[in-house]
Each structure stands twice: as C-alpha cells, then as structure tokens.
Symmetry: C3
Subunit: 656 residues, 3 copies
Amino acid sequence: MPTNPLFFGADWNPEQWPEHVRDTDLALMREARVTAATVGVFSWSRLEPSPGVYDFGWLDRVLDGLHEHGIGAVLATPTASPPPWFTQAHPGALAKRRDGVRLVHGSRDTYCVNAPAYRAASLRIATVLAERYARHPAVRLWHVHNEYGTWCFCDHCARAFRTWLRERHGTVAKLNDAWTADFWSQRYTDWAQVLPPRATQYLGNPAHELDYRRFLSDSMLAAYAEQRDAIKAVAPDAQVTTNFVLGGWVPVDHARWSREVDLVAIDHYPSSLDGTPAQSAFAADAARGWSAAAGHDGTWLLMEHAPAHVTENGVQRRKPPGMLARIALAHLARGSQGAMYFQWRASAGGAEQWHTAIVGHPGPDIRVYREFRALGETLAGEGRAPSYRSAYNKVPFPTGEAGSPAAGVGRGEVAVWFDEVCGWAVGASHLPAPLDYQGVVESWHRALWRRGYPIDVVPPTAALAEYRVLVVPAAYLLTDESVRRLDNYVQAGGHLVVTYLSGIVDEHLRVRTGGYPGALRELLGIRVEEFDPLPPGAVVTLDTGDLAAGWTEHLTAPGVEVLARYPDGRQAVTRREHGAGTAYYVSCALDDAATARLLDGICAATGTVPILPHLPDGVEAVRTPDGVWLFNHTDEPHTIAGRLLAQGTAAGLAAA
Amino acid sequence: MPTNPLFFGADWNPEQWPEHVRDTDLALMREARVTAATVGVFSWSRLEPSPGVYDFGWLDRVLDGLHEHGIGAVLATPTASPPPWFTQAHPGALAKRRDGVRLVHGSRDTYCVNAPAYRAASLRIATVLAERYARHPAVRLWHVHNEYGTWCFCDHCARAFRTWLRERHGTVAKLNDAWTADFWSQRYTDWAQVLPPRATQYLGNPAHELDYRRFLSDSMLAAYAEQRDAIKAVAPDAQVTTNFVLGGWVPVDHARWSREVDLVAIDHYPSSLDGTPAQSAFAADAARGWSAAAGHDGTWLLMEHAPAHVTENGVQRRKPPGMLARIALAHLARGSQGAMYFQWRASAGGAEQWHTAIVGHPGPDIRVYREFRALGETLAGEGRAPSYRSAYNKVPFPTGEAGSPAAGVGRGEVAVWFDEVCGWAVGASHLPAPLDYQGVVESWHRALWRRGYPIDVVPPTAALAEYRVLVVPAAYLLTDESVRRLDNYVQAGGHLVVTYLSGIVDEHLRVRTGGYPGALRELLGIRVEEFDPLPPGAVVTLDTGDLAAGWTEHLTAPGVEVLARYPDGRQAVTRREHGAGTAYYVSCALDDAATARLLDGICAATGTVPILPHLPDGVEAVRTPDGVWLFNHTDEPHTIAGRLLAQGTAAGLAAA
Amino acid sequence: MPTNPLFFGADWNPEQWPEHVRDTDLALMREARVTAATVGVFSWSRLEPSPGVYDFGWLDRVLDGLHEHGIGAVLATPTASPPPWFTQAHPGALAKRRDGVRLVHGSRDTYCVNAPAYRAASLRIATVLAERYARHPAVRLWHVHNEYGTWCFCDHCARAFRTWLRERHGTVAKLNDAWTADFWSQRYTDWAQVLPPRATQYLGNPAHELDYRRFLSDSMLAAYAEQRDAIKAVAPDAQVTTNFVLGGWVPVDHARWSREVDLVAIDHYPSSLDGTPAQSAFAADAARGWSAAAGHDGTWLLMEHAPAHVTENGVQRRKPPGMLARIALAHLARGSQGAMYFQWRASAGGAEQWHTAIVGHPGPDIRVYREFRALGETLAGEGRAPSYRSAYNKVPFPTGEAGSPAAGVGRGEVAVWFDEVCGWAVGASHLPAPLDYQGVVESWHRALWRRGYPIDVVPPTAALAEYRVLVVPAAYLLTDESVRRLDNYVQAGGHLVVTYLSGIVDEHLRVRTGGYPGALRELLGIRVEEFDPLPPGAVVTLDTGDLAAGWTEHLTAPGVEVLARYPDGRQAVTRREHGAGTAYYVSCALDDAATARLLDGICAATGTVPILPHLPDGVEAVRTPDGVWLFNHTDEPHTIAGRLLAQGTAAGLAAA
C-alpha cells in the first residue's frame, strides 16, 4: 500500500492479455510512479464464468502483483455488464427502450436496474468479491459498478415506479395534482394505470418525465447502496464509491448521490479540445461542490479521463504535448485526490479499441507514456518540474472543513448554482425556445473563470452564506426551500445574480403564476410579462453597448435600479437592494464579453478581485493552500507575476 | 345566449383550476366582451372518472356560469384523449405505429379510431353529454372531438381497411389493377393478405399508401358522424362541427368532411412570423372554399389560433403589438364567423404549459389580454378603433349564397385549386425530385395575394364557372371528373393556368401515358417528353428574363403560342385558346417575381384587376360586403386611398 | 438466339401491361437492335398465384415472342419478392430489423434468407422454372434472384449464425479470443448465448458485427447456390449468374461470390451526374477485377443501369444528350459483355414508376429511345458512329486469360486494392475519425483515372505480380495472407503505395500491436506512434507544398527516404526499397492534386505512362484490344491525337 495518498494511475484490464503482459505492465507502472490501478470493471464474465461458478485466480494474481509493486487497487464490482449467460437465464432482466424494444447483450449496460434477477446477481457477485478481497492489502478503494446512468422502461420499472410514486405523492389525487393530470385527460384513478413515459402519439407530460428521471436516479442509487452495504458488512472500514459520469442524458442526481459515497469520484470527457481547460475547471468545481455540500471535505477524485485525445464532433483531437500534465495538475489544484486515466493499456479489440491509453497499441515507447511517466515523477517529488513541485509537496494534499465547500482546496468567493435536476426539468419541458441548461451554467462559470475569480460550483444544498457573489443561471425549477435559501442569502448580505428562466416552476414543473419569475419576483423587485425569444442569428444591442441573443423578456421593475435597457427603453438588467445584500436580474442571454463586463462590475462592488490581476486570456490561476498555481493554456509564453511560463505548461507561485 | 353572432373567445379549461378561478375568468371574459368559450375538450377523465361513472357537476357550473354571463358555449366531446382507465381496460384499443410499436397514454390522441372499444366508449360519452346538455341555453355549437388526424396501423385498422377496400374496389383483381400490384410481385389473391402500409424493407407502393390515407380519413369521418348523429338524435337542431387541423401529415380530406359539418371550423398555426399574413390568408381562403363547395354559404369559423406567438423552427416568436387584432380581423374579412383562440388561461402544468394564452401565467395584467380586450370592444362596436368599426358594424356579418364560394364574403375572381388528396398522392410517391405540394400551391396563392387580387382557394368539387382565372398548381393527381371539369371551364370561357406536375396520374396513382401531362395534354396543346429537375441552387434564365429553379421540362407544343423559352429555345410557358377560353402551361418553377409578372399579364388580359391599385408590399386589401378592409402588415405607415394607415394596423374603407 | 454475343437490352416486365403492349415492345426492341431482355424478375405472384399453383402461359408467350424476334432472354428467378400469400402462410419467414421489428410485404426483399420456409419456396419455384424453360431456345443466361443484400436479425438467422460461427471458430473459447470478448464482459460459455448484433444500449463489438456481415454474405451465397445448382441439375450447360448491387451497406462479398457465377454481372447507379464517368470507370474496373481474380477471363456484364438519369441527393438529374451511348461504350471498353438497362418500359404504377426507361411513359417517341436505338445500330455495326464502329467490330469481344485480370480487355499497369470486407470492417469499427473506405479507394482510383493511366481495381485475391504499381488505400484490415502477398509483391520488384489506416487490424479486427501499421511496419520501414485526425476544415501544408486534410500521423522512419514532411519536420510521405521493389507510405489524406502529383512521380519512376499523353481533364482514354477508345466527358470539343472529338462523344483510335 503506497504511502503517497494521491491516486495516480489508470483503469487496467490485464484479463484481456496474456499473463506476461501483466508483468510488463506492473514494471511500467512502477517506472511511472503509478500509485493506483482500477481493476475488475467489466470483468464479470471472467469472475463468474457461469452462474455461481467463480474464477478468482487471475484477480488474486493481479492484486498480489499490484501489492508487490507498491501500487494500490481501486477494486470494481463488475455489475455494469452482466455476462451473456445472464441474458440467457434472465431475458426479462434486460432493459427496454421507450418504444418497448428489448436491448440485448453485445455492448455494456445491458440490464434493467429494477429487475430482481439482476439485482440478486449483482448483490451476489459484489458480496463474494467483498468476502474475498475486502482485507487484501492492495485494496485502497472500492469502485461499485461503472458510470451509473442506464435508462429502462420495462414492466419491472413500471412496478417500481408505482411504488416510488406512492411514497413520494401518497395518493393518486395528489399525483394528479402534482402532474397537472387534468391537462389532456391524464387523471389517474388507480396506481396500476401509471406507466413509465413510454412512446406515445405526441408530447409527453413534463412532470411525468421528470419524476421518472428522479425515480431512475433513486433506483440506481438503491442498487449502488445495496452493493456498498454488502462490502461494508464484510469490511466496515472499506472506502466505497462509484464513478459519476456527467452529462444531461444521465438520470443520476450526483448532488444527492454524493452523500452516499465515501469519496466523490467523477469521470471527465470534454467535448472540444479548445474547450477542455474551461470544461475541466467546471467539472472539477462541480465535483468539489458536491463533495462539500454532501458533508465531505471538498476533496474528490478524478477517476477517469482520456490520456491523449478529446473527442470533438466524432473526431479524436490529439492532446498536444504538455496537455496531459497540465490538465491533470489543474484538476489536482481544484481538489482532486489524484489523476486517474482510462485506460492503462489500449485494448486490441472491442468497441473501445480506439480509446487512447497510457500504453498505446504501439507499446510504451510513445509520447503519451513518456509524458505520463514524467508527470508521475513530478507528483512523486522527483521530477523535472521544480517550479510547482516544492509548493505541491509542502502540503501533501489539501483538506477542507467537512460541510463547507472545500475551503482548504481553494474555497471560492463566487459561487455558480448548478442543479442537475433542473437540467432534467428543462429537458423534459417544451419551452418557448430550446435551452441548453448546462451550457448556460457553463457560460457563466466560464466568464468568471476567464477573468480569474475564485469560483465554486454549488448544488442547491450547498452552504451559501460565505460567498460574496452567487450566480443562479437559468434555474428554471426552484423548490420552495431553494427560494427561501436564496432570499436568506441576500437578506444576510449576499450578492445574488439571477438570469432569465430562473424560478419559473415548482418541483412538479407547475409554473408559479402571477408574473415571472414567480419564485423570485419579490426578491428581484421585477415582474416579467412576456418572454421574447429571438430567432437564431438575431442580436439586440442594449443601451450599454452589450449584445444579447437568443432570449429577451418584457418586464416591469418599478423603483428598481436599471443597469441596462433594451433599444425600446425596457429594462434588461436590474439591481435591487434587499436586506443587507443585493439582487441582480439579467433578463437576456448576454454574449461572453457582456457577461464578463457585468460580472466585473458586480464583483468589484463586493470587493471580489481576481486571484491575480490582468491575466492574459488562456492563462489560468488557481488558489491552493500552498500558493497559486498557474496554467498557461495558450500557444505562447507569458510572464505572470515576474515568472516566465512557457506555452502549455503549469507552475506554482509562493502562497499569495 | 349572446345576440352577437360572432364567436369571440377561446378554449377554456376551468377544470384545471380551483373554483374561484372560474369566477375570475368569467368576469374577465365579460370585461373583454367574450361571446363564446370552448369547453370540455380533453375533459374525459373528469367527466367519466371511471367507466360508466360520470361527474357533471363541474361542467354544469361552467355552462351555467357562461350562460349567466351571456357567453355562449362551444361544447366539445372529450374523445380526443381517453382517460388512463381506458388504456387499462382496453390496451388493444391504442394506436400502433407503422413499426408495430403500441403508443400508450401520457399524451393526447391515444386511441385507435377503428378499435370497437374506443368507438363504443366515445359514442357513449358523446351520447350522455348530448342528453344532459343539448338543451342547455349556453350551448351554441357542438365541437366533436379535437383535431382529427391520428394515424394507426394496428390489426383493427387492418380489418377495417379490408372492408373499406372491398367497398371501393369490389374484387381483389380490381385492387391489383388499381394498385399496379404486378410491380414487385404484390399481387393479392385474398383480401386477408392486405395489410396497412407497415414498416417494410424498402420503398412502399404509393397506391397502397394513398388508399390508406383515404381510408383513415373515412374512418375518422365515420367516428365523427357517429357522435354527430348521437347529438342530433337528442337535439335535431343542434349545430355540430369539429375543428380541422391543417397540414400535409393529417390524413383528413377536409373538402369531403366539410359536407358533414354544420359550420366549417379550422385551427390555424402558421409556421413563421413573417409568413403569418400570407399563410393566414391562404388558410382562410381554403376554409371559405371548403364551406362553399360543401353547400354552405362560404362562411366558416376560426376555431383556434395562438394569441401571442408563432412557433418558427422551434422558437416561439412573439407577435408584436397590434398583430393580435390585425390577424383576427383579416380572418373575419375573409368570412370567419369569429375569432377563437387557444387558449383562454395558460395551463400551469402539462405538455402545453408554454402555449401562449389570453390570460397568461402572469394573469390578466399583460399586453396580450389588453389587446384582446380592445379587440373585443371593437367587435362589440364600442371600441377605440373607429377606422373600421363603422364599416364592420354596418353589416353584422357577411353572408353568401349557399353552394357558391362565399360570394357575399369577398367572392374572388381568381381561384387557386387546392386538393389535399393530391398532396397525399405527392407525399406517397417517389417523385423525380422532392415536391412540397402545399408549398407550391401557397406560392401561387401568395403571388396573387401580394398583388392584391380577389382570390378564392377551391377544392376540386368547387363551382368553377364564375372565376375569370383558375390556377392549378402541381395538381399531380387529377381524376377523370376533374379533367372533364377543367376542360368545360376553359371551353366556357375560363382562363386556366396549369403548372408542371399537374395531371400526371389517375386516382390510383397510375401515370397517364402517352406524354405528360396525360390528363391535360390535349387541352394545353403540349406534350412533355422528359422532366428535368434542377439540383438545389441551380437557376435557369428564360428568354423573358424570368428565373426558374427546381423543376424544368422538355416539351413539344406544335402550333401553340409560346410565352417564354428556355435558353436553348425550348418552350417553357405556353398559351392555347380552346373553346371560349385559354389554357396556359408553366413547365418550370418560376420565382415569386416571375410568377407575379405572369399572373399580372394573364389577369390583365381577362380584365381582372387588383382590389386596390398600387398597394405597397405588405399592405393587404380584402373586399368585403361592406367595403374594402386594409391591413398594414409592415413596420411603417402607408397612405392608401388617401387614408393614413399606421404600421401594424387595420382599417376599413367605404364600399368601393 | 442472336449471333451477336453482346447483351444489349433491358429489364422487361410485359406482365404489367395488356398483351398488345408486349407485341409493340417486341417490335420496338427489334427496331433498336436489342439482343437480350431480362424477364421474370419480381414475377413470383404471377408465376405462382397461390402455393404450388403455377401460371406459365404468359411467360411462355414472352419467351416465344423474344425468340421469334431473335432476342435472347436473361431469365430471372423471382425470389427477391415472395407474393403476399407467402407472408400469409409464413409470417415468421419475413425479415426482422435489429430492433426486432418484423418487416412485412408491400415492398420488395420481404423475406429472411435463412428462413426454411422461404428457402424451400424459393428452391421450388427456381426448380419448376428450370424444368420448364432450361431448354427454351430464347434463354441465354439465368439471373437468379435480384440484387442480393437484405439484412435480417431474426431467430432463424440467430440459429444459422451459431452454426456458421461454430464452423468458422471451432470452439467458444476461440470465438471469445477472436472477438476480444473480455472487453465489456462479453465472454460466451455456450453457443446458444450468441445472438445477431441486435439493438443494444451502446456501442457494439466490431468483430461481432463483422462476422455477422460475413455470415449474411455466406447465407445469401448459399441461397444463390441452391438455385443455381437446381438449374444446372436440369441443364448442366446453363449459364447462371446474379446481379451484384454495389454499396457499403450491402453485406455481400462480391469478390468471393464471383467464383460462384458463370459471368460477373453488376448493376450500377452512380450518386452524382458529374461523378458518373469516374464512378462508372471504378465500378467497371472492380467488376473486371472480380472476374479475373475469380478465374474468369476478366469480362463481365453491366446488367442494369439507368437510361436517362442519375439520382443525386434525391434529385433525378437528367443525362444530357450523348451520355447514354458514351457511358455504355465506356463500360464496354472496360470489358463489359454488353449494356443492359433498367428498364425497358416505365411502369405506370408502383414504387419505381419514376425510374427512367428506354420507353418512357410518353412512349417511344422520346429522346431516350432514339439515343438507345442509335446505340443499338452502332453496336450492330450499322450505325451512324463510324469513328469507333470499325475498331469495335474488328474484335467481336475482348477476352483475357483466365485467372489474370482481363489482360485482353485493357490489362492495367497500375492496380488499386479494393476489399469490400475491409469496408465492412471500417463500418463496424469506432475509429478515431469517420472514414469512408470506398470513398478513399475511389479517390485514388480517380486520381489515376484522371491522369489516364491504365488501371485495374483488384480484390485481395488478385494476381499482383504483373502490376508495376499497386496502390493500397486505407486497407484497415489485412489478413496474414494479404500481408505476405504484399511483401512478396515488393520483394519481386513491385512498387507498392500504402496509405494511412492500412494494415491496422487482423481478420478479427484486433489491432496488430507494436506500432502502426502493425502488418506493414517492417515492409514500409516506419512506425506510427499516434494518429492525429484533423477537424473538418483544417488543412496542413507539407514541405512539398501539397495539402493534407482529415488525417495525419506521427511516425518515425529511421533510415527511410522522406518524400514529404509536415510543417514541424515529421515525416509525412516515405519511400523504402525492399527486395527488388519499393514501398511508399502516405500518412495523410492528400488532396486530389497532391495525390496526382505523387502518383505521377511514382509511375514515372517505374516507367508507367498514361495511355495518351496530355489528355485534357474530362477526356478519358481506355486501352482495348482493338485500339484506344476515347471519351469526351466535357461540354466542349477536344482534339486528341489529331482527331476532333465533339463534346459528349466517344471515338476509337487505331490500335496504339
């Protein structure tokens, strides 16, 4: 078991290779200062070749080998892909699409999470694994399943959904009320009439769809918890987690799940090469926010990211030299307990044979491996990157206070509100214009990130009081509890920035009537009469010179300060003092520059300044407990605070 | 019961709200001079909470409330959405897609119109409603179902289709002949072999598909007639209709259906904001044409349109100030018996919660309600719009002679042929190039509309004799009867303009051979040898300077006058005298300007002039019995006939 | 039976017309010098109106009529479309899609090739036809089925697939190894667990998918062979073939099938009008390559092409005057035994009523028929096209040596490697960037074709030794046998040009590790470390000035000659001497001009010159046994070797 607490390594599947490759891999890992390897993911058909018949020999040797080389194991339960024998024995336990098509094996995630046979088989293999390996000295962390997020609409789900709804709503009458079932004659009179939101003639009921996503999240969480509890029953001290996969299509409420894991762990796959630094910062800030709000200390773990590419519109863009270390270090600076990759050795066959790896198909004699090894040396304090090594090693790993957003790991002064359930609400609704919820949230985060402010991304349950500025972008769904917390925040002196399409519906997607945004009208001192979404390409110039596109509104704001107006004089951006704080409303979709200008003004008014002043675009500063870390994401050198930072590199400054 | 015959109001769903909202709504309606409210649509699950158990209390109160406030009721049967208990009891009565997927409840239109259980349940609820309310003093019009148009491909439909085919074709041998079943070995030997056009490997048989759409239209018409007859059995004087929804995807032959309703009623949802005036004119002219051809007097009713938005490529474009009244009045000028909206009060939840309403989520204190109320005052003769008020009130509502195209409501001098069955034929066929049938028809209508000609849109069964000019665009399918009528029209002195792809196939989609257009070759004096569709972007300049794109042809026209030629000298546009009239042929897709120039020439030659000369683009003139009404659809003022017309407004002139 | 060995004619379906049309058609065919007509395709419902009940009268009269007019018959078995009674009797014998949807009749290809009932019915009708007509004097060639290529995923296929896999792989353990089944836990323990690659949650296994395409090809080949053998059992001298349809979506390995036919026959439908000459040349060269490699003499037959149009993005572009003859003659020059069209007489109804025909809907008095008749006269040696008539008739039809690529029909000096199975491999894989395999192959062929080199397109089994230059574009999958053959080719003095993404995986889609391209690393003397696909629109300029886009690589090539470098100095194009030959590697996707420049250099170095020097772009030269044939595909005249060649025409030169 390594003494270095950092997780540095990758997913490793030695079962796909002859035995001698395993030994080669272990030597290479040692050479690269690997501290942890994730094993066992997708190995069910190896571990249990037929029902109840186990083959642990190979995994014994893998774990022993890791231990002998001083490498910790992140041991996965293999339940994300039942073997073909499972389908054969339980064809009814596979998932169905909305249209009733049964999805068979031949890929991954081929199960219905609510099928009793699947749950029983999963629990059994997890239990057997725990019994065998819970005390194995290599095992450092348990990794239940993989990237929960599979949809299903089958009859098992229908039954479980009804039970879940009964618990949530109590009576059919309350369900009808919550779902506005009078619309289109959808009033239920018997729980048995309720179905998953399967294929239907025309638009579905948004409340029905939203509850189904909540139900799927809870179903998967129950499946996770079952395995976690089985492991802890054998080894109460075991650390257990699962790897979160981000994306609007995943019906998993990660803020809620974070309370059920011992360490928040995320996989991160950006969608564009140029967007990778900003997207990575957002994901890391979100993971830290989940961790803190769930009562952990704000630290978390980057469980997977790609070594050498970013898939952009179907093309694997190659990460240029230096980017491997730079992105890994940026995650560490934001509180990750390590940098884990998918995957160690590129598979020769299978669906993901072209996913990049530390050891590619050509073997270890490739740039990626060399960069990875150099990063390992750096992280082990032996490396050739002295500029941030000392700072980094001074405090082995930052820790924060439990329950507060990772104060110790670069506690921000500005927070961005991010609620995945709100994203589902948006996705389930038929809005006046298309809205990319997470895209809007990320655009506000990016504006702050570019200007170098210390930022957190926080879920609705986060402690808000210590932030000077809180930005709430497009929070379409706000619960009564959230509304109260936001009001308290401002009353107590907080500076709240709310954008269009926030506070519109309650938790059941019912519009809060009386004038938009129903939940925040009083707090903001405004009343929106009409939405006025713009067609693609149309732009409006405000009296400030700022540009808006996509979304505008018609509002009244008697007695409230107006910061920007539409061409016809109507209010576009407003400011109201409330209690000891202020509440801003932004009724349109500002472009990036305008967003940045607005935020600069608001932050300046609250005494919030960038971590370092006058940073060039593309140079990132992150405040860590042992000083400021710098990342030059550009293609040219920059001198920051007197230090020359070569293109594509990272460096640390003495604590500010 | 109001004395004002106009229908002015909206769909109203008080059952979605607490009782006190109903009273608020009634007061607001009275304030806005509402004369009619559509109630009961989609209320089945409220009216019959479980099979055979009824709850009429709420509807009693709604109808009584309307009556007390002097507002008429358009009372709907709720059969467009069976309640969830219906699915539970009759899962086999729900629709199936082409691929066999059963579509479940959770939306609207969740039924198979040919399922006996659905028909029985529908007839029962309609009968019970009629028995209870047929003599209620508020009930002014019955509104059966809602927007018929649901497809289904299930076994109920298969059986009904066979019966329908047997009646239509008589024998399997005749079916094989009509469907050209020898192609691809589709010869039937037993009625039992015939299926709906379900999912298949490759291209389907166009004749099969076309007959299926006819069959669906007739199936739905039978379902409508059943309910209508049940209502009339109780109250023989009841006025009964259903609201037509327009669109190429709807398998409903509205010309045929118009004979079965007491008042032609349409819903109209344009597809672009800028295109709304022209699209509204087309829809209104088509409704008037259906009414007249079906033996009514040419009047009709705009049963639904959106108060405040036009959905354009997924974005709700906001109707600017003034447009609400302007578009409503334009419909009235074209013979609508009123202006009804969907909907009165915006739903807080449900799939269409974001559809705009007279009373929006903010309540009545919004621009839309204020504009609606002002329109109500105007229509009631009390309003602040004196410019057309006097003219409007002089003749409370225009009436025409039964059987002729609404002569009294602005009888046109130019007619445009529009046959929805032809549109289905085009949609079912695999043409040499894509063709948007209705788009082509609308482009010819729009060209005439822009130039200010008095236009009607007429189905094939219309009385043609009184039109000076008849335009037949892309009438791909012409029956023998239509061919004879067109010939008679010209013989008797009519001026016929036929475009490319007209008269190509018979009623069974069999090409009329011997040279295109087989049905009209002799009448036009031409023979088309080859089609020559152009790729997107390609343009041909005729010797007249006119531009053609999309479609050209190679034809011979010995001894016929040539009005325009292709660059290589071939004939593009021809003119032939025949009997007392003339027949023009346009072999290519002219651009808008060229179409207008051509029509100007033809109209001038027949003595047909615009309603007012020299109208600016975007200013519309409609001839009504009490004078010409003007509509300024532009963003600037215009002076017309000495009267200043502000931007976005409407006005009336003294009878010309 | 005509003495002219050429096949000149079309698909003919007199069963769709009254009897008198048949006589008209025969007279017209005679007038146009037609030598062959394909009959019986899709006539099953006429031939066997109900199970076991036959009606041969009409076909007797058709064949007798052809014979009386001296026209040969290409007699088809009708098994591509079972009649509706077949569905009625055997609903389980129709194909299922991946998602389990059963596809019904109403189109063509409505069967599962592995359904016993379908196979039995097919064999029976083929046998009965053979017994009746095998000795009919008109029958010149048997045409089994039509355009094999239908996918199915049903349980019949599942069973047959398992049998096929067992024969291919022997044991489940070997299957797991071949399919890399450890990835995502897909390890099988029982053959019964193996399914077709049906709908699944996420990415499928490429090896599974590839084997399924191979299996479908073999299934269809078995069905073909069954019918062929039944015919030969009756008439051992019968010539039997089927018409290949080309396209990446067709799971038919035409190189393999070519060994099972007596004459390779293809249908050819280009995808763009301007691209038709190059696409036709490629298809013809591929057909000749299949013929030669399969042990035939390199001749083949163009069984179908469209008389008057090319469908381009859904628009039927009209072939301009002259193109009908020009394209037919270009096929003949490349070894086709004739020029057959789909179809003779345009169907009045049915799905393909708008497919162009020799006798269109207007009848024979159309340009297409006149051009066809003129071509017939030319081919019969009577025509008005003396420029190539003499040369053409001098050698009635070119013949080559069996087993070598059609030496007698314009044996090329440059070969382009084309392997449809490789295309399936690419289509089944999830590559680092999208790759259009056939598009890349065609781009190399087109570069050579434009420059006028004598080219063959060869499958992996071709005799390679006699080619001076062999281009292997994007040969992602290379078997061990192919690798050995390529090495031998170079050793023996060949000049091999290999592009990026060649030699990457073995026959089971397992990456050959150790550095790309694993199969050819040593031969080429290079080692690729990383792929670097470029995003759309990005371009790299090599030090030669050549442009690359789409794909680049990072490679090392110690001691190997470098022909072009990337901007950072890395090797882009290399050359290595090996044995008596040389091996070039092109690591990027060059644009057309750069490809041509590179090939010019390589050809020049091997003494390979264009057929005629300095041909203008769009003028094509084909070397035939009786001289060079010229085709002017441009819109202007060109003088070639002293002869004036009008726009759009073809001509022959004396043997070079």
